[in-house]
Symmetry: C2
Subunit: 334 residues, 2 copies
């Protein structure tokens, strides 16, 4: 391994001067030139551990996926969010460190992150595990899809999304509208359900108890179960607003299996606009979350925090607008 000592020997300068030349500090042009030439010639590569040790700055950002996200990196929603985050962070020369979480306890994850000396942390999850809050006292942190009063966070405007969905349904003549909710301990689940109820009230529509079913943690299995419950009702809804595309897709599927037609008999609106949404039959009308933008904004918040050595405990929340994507799963009622 070639070090600055080798460069120093080779050029006749001291290691201090070499270090300065490499860091664009003040040295004569002549020295800089000679040193840079030697760097080239000897194939010198700086050692980031040594630098981190000396400067206490790692240029790494830790990425933590919540345990409930089984698919991790490959998650259809959060994967894209992280990609958006990464693109922005890269511009500022940060690398992303995906830490392992098999140690189980969040407590351990938090220790691990500080062990690694990351400059900041982005946490991707939607519920529970408050233990990790401790992190924030130590390392700049930004949360995605999860509110917090201690830190930065970015999430979609879930309530407006619900309103968009209900409005669209009402405009198409629907009044018997059900809602398959995401788990009610998750932030998006709660917000979307709340928005749904508000929007129904705004239209003077009743929120019927039996039209409000829990679909669990946004999986197809959960969506399927919830829809089955809805289908077993004597007085079925004519439209259902589903708080997640995966659930919505499963819900559509099971209603088709039951012999009903989508959207002729029952209309559907999802939430997320994951890639699959446009490919199912009928193509799913849904509320699109801007995943790239969410990731990017999270990166912006985090980098700001890092730069500011933010000890001021500023709480920064960003709500990202959502849009209605009209496709084929909603039918106008005669």
């Amino acid at each position: 391994m070639v070090t600055i000592y080798d460069i120093a020997d080779h050029t006749g300068y001291s290691i201090a001067t070499v270090s300065k030349a490499l860091n664009n500090k003040k040295v004569s042009e002549k020295a800089r030139r000679k040193i840079l030439d030697a760097v080239e010639e000897l194939h010198y590569t700086p050692n980031s551990s040594a630098r981190t040790l000396a400067t206490n700055k790692s240029w790494m950002i830790g990425v933590v996926f919540g345990e409930n996200l089984g698919s991790g990196i490959a998650h259809p929603f959060f994967g894209q969010v992280i990609e958006g985050f990464k693109k922005h962070a890269e511009l500022y020369n940060y690398d992303l460190l995906f830490v392992s979480r098999h140690m189980g306890l969040q407590q351990e994850t938090y220790k691990h992150l500080s062990h690694r000396g990351v400059d900041g942390v982005v946490i991707v999850q939607s519920h529970g595990e408050d233990e990790i809050k401790k992190l924030d006292h130590m390392i700049p942190t930004v949360y995605i899809d999860r509110p917090t009063n201690e830190s930065g966070t970015v999430y979609s405007d879930n309530q407006s999304g619900s309103r968009l969905a209900v409005n669209h349904l009402v405009e198409n003549g629907h009044t018997k509208i059900a809602h398959i909710m995401g788990n009610q301990t998750t932030f998006p689940g709660i917000e979307r359900a709340t928005g749904f109820k508000k929007a129904m009230h705004e239209h003077g529509l009743p929120v019927r108890e039996e039209y409000l079913v829990d679909g669990g943690f946004y999986s197809q299995a959960g969506g399927r179960e919830a829809m089955i419950r809805l289908l077993s009702l004597k007085d079925k809804p004519t439209a259902v607003y589903v708080g997640g595309d995966e659930m919505a897709i499963a819900a559509m599927k099971v209603t088709k299996e039951s012999g009903l037609k989508v959207p002729e008999d029952i209309s559907f609106i999802g939430f997320d606009d994951i890639k699959i949404a446009q490919h199912v039959e009928p193509a799913l009308t849904t509320i699109r979350q801007d995943k790239e933008l969410i990731g990017q904004q999270a990166a912006i918040i985090l980098l700001d925090k890092i730069a500011a050595k933010d000890t001021t405990r500023i709480v920064n929340k960003k709500m990202i607008p959502v849009t209605l994507i009209k496709r084929e799963s909603v039918k106008r009622l005669a």
Copy 2:
């Protein structure tokens, strides 16, 4: 920041003893106990940079996505592969470092990786960019979906996949079979096309020039273009084997748009079995690559290399079996 010096002061032992206790080296039970207690009490967290500097071992594995993979982490195929890789690497306490590649040149990526001192590198891409080979002389490396004579690599048994596809089509009475190829500078593209030709020959079927079209880099746009060319033929194929699901989905879509029925008029088989495949209409019959397994096997190879300080230049290639997933996009010819 609390260091081993603090622990040493607090317990009365030297930093050497503290270090040993923390690393399960030989110290008395009494010392170990006192030290571990102090660690707990003072909330000591080791500093990985210092340790890496001293041991020359970072416990990080660098992850590099090829530039041609626009979607990066969110890629429907490679995202899952990396997730499989991660799961295995985690078991051995490695963290994954996704390095930024905006610096452009592979040359730079390679420097960056050695700058970071990662213990190993996994490269995810399917073509070109040979510059990165240099890496392998420095850092243990494993490639995914890309052959190399210098290193470890894992990929699916593409040729067998093609055979599976062709056999299935032939069994269903098809003889006029076209192939939309992945770009012929990519390894999977070449292999699948080769396998296709071989299989056709085995069945005594001609490989017609105009039935072999290039779909480019596995995108929907490319698949669409290629299919349009096939549809413009006077003598159309009755089945097309598409070297990638994204392309296949687009191809099916455009033939439906053209007024033809799938699979009644034209049957389709894809390759990959990405998540969307089962949701399109008709559900796509395809050759499934075992993404988790590919990732896991890549991790196994890499960790072996790292452990062996492999200077023996062993070339380790693993070919992962593929399976035919029958769904609805292939129709038996009358």
